[in-house]
């Protein structure tokens, strides 16, 4: 009998606890019309930042973000002018394989790339997740950022050169061609420049600089691509 009374009492206590919420306001937001404000540091999609006055991209084609990316989502195409300076041709981000880790943003010394707190980019087609330079720049125009103190890329390298031997200078000598393609690690597939997006790249590995940090030795890469 005592057990029964105890059981009923405890059930009532539990019900009372849940009953406290009767008459409270709902905290749910009606999503498409109302939205949460994203925190300042929120890591959404990758955007390219432009100079506030001139509107030009901050990117200096140092390729550090491409090297830092663990999934090979970033592809940078560039060509060289007569002085050997690299000029950005296209900056491609495959949002389908981006893992939103933010390492590209940390690798950048020039406030050129950022993970902004924007998130609505779902589509019905996987190929449309591959974004090119103009779209990345467009979406990054309103994103606030702080310009780093050091500005000149060539004259003064970063205080602690991120990877001494693998810096931009080494990439230049090893990469005289007009394009550089991030080697997709693992089975990740990225489009190669010059190829239409629909065609899947053949097993033939893309041109890769020797010092690309995201690839292993040849044995490993070959094993990965099987």
């Amino acid at each position: 009998m005592k057990k029964l009374v105890d059981a009923i009492r405890n059930l009532v206590v539990g019900l009372f606890t849940t009953g406290k919420h009767l008459g409270r306001h709902a905290v749910t937001l009606q999503y498409p019309t109302q939205k949460w404000e994203m925190p300042e540091r929120s890591r959404g999609i990758v955007v390219l930042l432009s100079d506030k006055e001139s509107g030009e991209l901050n990117c200096t084609v140092c390729m550090l973000c491409m090297r830092a990316c663990p999934t090979g989502a970033i592809t940078i195409e560039f060509e060289k002018d007569e002085k050997g300076k690299r000029i950005l041709k296209d900056f491609i981000v495959d949002n389908g394989i981006c893992c939103f880790c933010g390492l590209c943003e940390e690798a950048c010394n020039f406030a050129a790339i950022k993970m902004a707190g924007k998130y609505e980019f779902s589509t019905e087609d996987r190929e449309t997740l591959i974004w090119h330079q103009d779209r990345l720049q467009e979406i990054g125009r309103g994103v606030p950022y702080e310009k780093p103190v050091r500005k000149k890329p060539a004259a003064k390298p970063a205080a602690e050169p991120p990877n001494a031997g693998d810096g931009p200078a080494a990439a230049e000598s090893a990469q005289p061609e007009v394009t550089a393609v991030a080697n997709p690690p693992g089975d990740a597939v990225i489009t190669k420049p010059g190829q239409p997006a629909e065609s899947r790249p053949a097993p033939e590995p893309p041109a890769r600089p020797d010092e690309n940090p995201i690839e292993g030795d040849d044995g490993k890469s070959a094993e990965d691509q099987k």
Binding site: D6, A7, N10, L11, V13, G14, T17, T18, P39, E40, R41, S42, R43, A68, P70, C99, F100, C101, G102, L103, E106, A107, M115, E160, P162, N163, D166, P185, G186, P213, I214, E215, G216, K220, S221, D224
Partner: protein, 370 residues
């Protein structure tokens, strides 16, 4: 049982999962049933295998941190921590004082968040819907704090070799204090709904008893081990980071049934909140990360480092040959052993208890398969 006179039952095979809401992922069980009673259980794993350890062999140490987030997503901070600890030991990196405190704050908040997921899903598996909403409500506050700090809610990429990636924003400490002040009352609420609830007790008491010797033989660790009466917690027995500076209890229980595992986890949430509070009071100013070169090359050697996460011992074994990428990474998670001990616990119970036992062991599948 087929004790009734003249009533013959034939043993039959029943398949549970891999897509079943109560298996917390894609776990499959092949059960041998005699009527409603389980006579044998065979867990079938591998549905969530993503070859993450192999992928780690082709990445630099920095790049592996976002991959460790995917090892066990409920407590991704502890995965970051385990790998960072191992890398620091291998490369001889120093960690600033402030970073150590930030790490402990994040680890313990993440432990609470993980236990809240367990609390919600366990009660949902047993048919109670309200606790599920309660648990996820408080977890939301914790995830907001994480998002405020590192920008993401699940895949943090926050704890790095040599420190942490970002300092906490100014708003963090007031928000965290407010959360901790309210949290104790919230746990009281959880207990009021479930702890003495007669239905909950009937479903959990004396169900799935894990004896201490069985637990040790199967290498079960974490709260499931402590519920069997073995007082073993790496935070106390093999202190890493700065855990020896905090004052906290290690809750244990005697019986090792589902109910005891519930009690241990509830009490652990309170202890974690205590640790976070102490860490917030003691946190010093200073740098948050020592200087680490991009693509650093640790010397050749091998190392094993382990941390206590909400499912037990999480260990990382790294073998280096002096390159910027490890030769081999092996990860040990608590869930695998807890899944392997399931056949011992379930035999002789009814099929409905399988769900209760599985829920109380707090298994998540990405930790089993990787």
């Amino acid at each position: 049982m087929s004790e009734a006179q003249g009533l013959h039952t034939k043993e039959f095979t029943l398949n549970v999962g891999p897509h079943h809401p109560s298996t917390h992922g894609v776990c499959r069980f092949v059960l041998q049933m005699e009527g409603e009673v389980i006579t044998s259980v065979t867990p079938v794993i591998g549905y969530l295998h993503r070859a993450l350890e192999k992928i780690c062999e082709n990445r630099t140490y920095e790049q592996i941190i976002p991959i460790t987030d995917r090892f066990e997503y409920c407590t991704a901070m502890s995965c970051n921590m385990g790998f960072s600890l191992a890398t620091e030991k291998l490369a001889g990196l120093e960690v600033p004082e402030r970073a150590e405190y930030l790490r402990v704050i994040m680890l313990e908040l993440n432990r609470i968040a993980s236990h809240l997921i367990w609390f919600g899903t366990t009660s949902l598996d047993l048919g109670a819907i309200t606790p599920f909403l309660y648990g996820f409500r408080e977890r939301e506050d914790i995830l907001d704090m994480f998002e405020m700090t590192c920008g993401q809610r699940l895949t943090f990429n926050y704890i790095r070799p040599g420190g942490v990636s970002k300092d906490i924003p100014k708003a963090f400490i007031p928000v965290c204090k407010k959360f901790l002040d309210a949290f104790s009352a919230k746990v009281d609420d959880y207990e009021r709904v479930l702890t003495e609830n007669p239905i909950f007790i009937a479903r959990n008491k004396d169900v799935g008893i894990l004896k201490p010797e069985t637990a040790i033989a199967y290498s079960v660790s974490g709260p499931s081990l402590r519920a069997s009466g073995v007082k073993y917690d790496l935070r106390r027995d093999d202190p890493y980071s700065i855990y020896d500076r905090f004052d906290f209890e290690i809750p244990t229980r005697e019986n090792g049934d589902c109910y005891d595992r519930y009690i241990v986890r509830i009490r652990e949430m309170r202890e974690s909140a205590k640790i976070v509070r102490q860490a917030i009071e003691q946190i010093p100013e200073g740098p948050i990360r020592s200087k680490v070169k991009m693509n650093f090359k640790p010397p050749a050697g091998e190392v094993y480092c382990r941390v206590e996460n909400s499912r037990g011992e999480m260990g990382f074994y790294i073998q280096s040959v002096g390159e910027k990428m490890p030769l081999r990474v092996k990860m040990r998670g608590g869930s695998y052993n807890q899944l392997q001990v399931m056949p011992v616990l379930c035999v002789g119970h009814k099929i409905a208890d399988l769900v209760a036992i599985m829920a109380s062991m707090d298994i998540i599948m990405p930790d089993v398969d990787r």
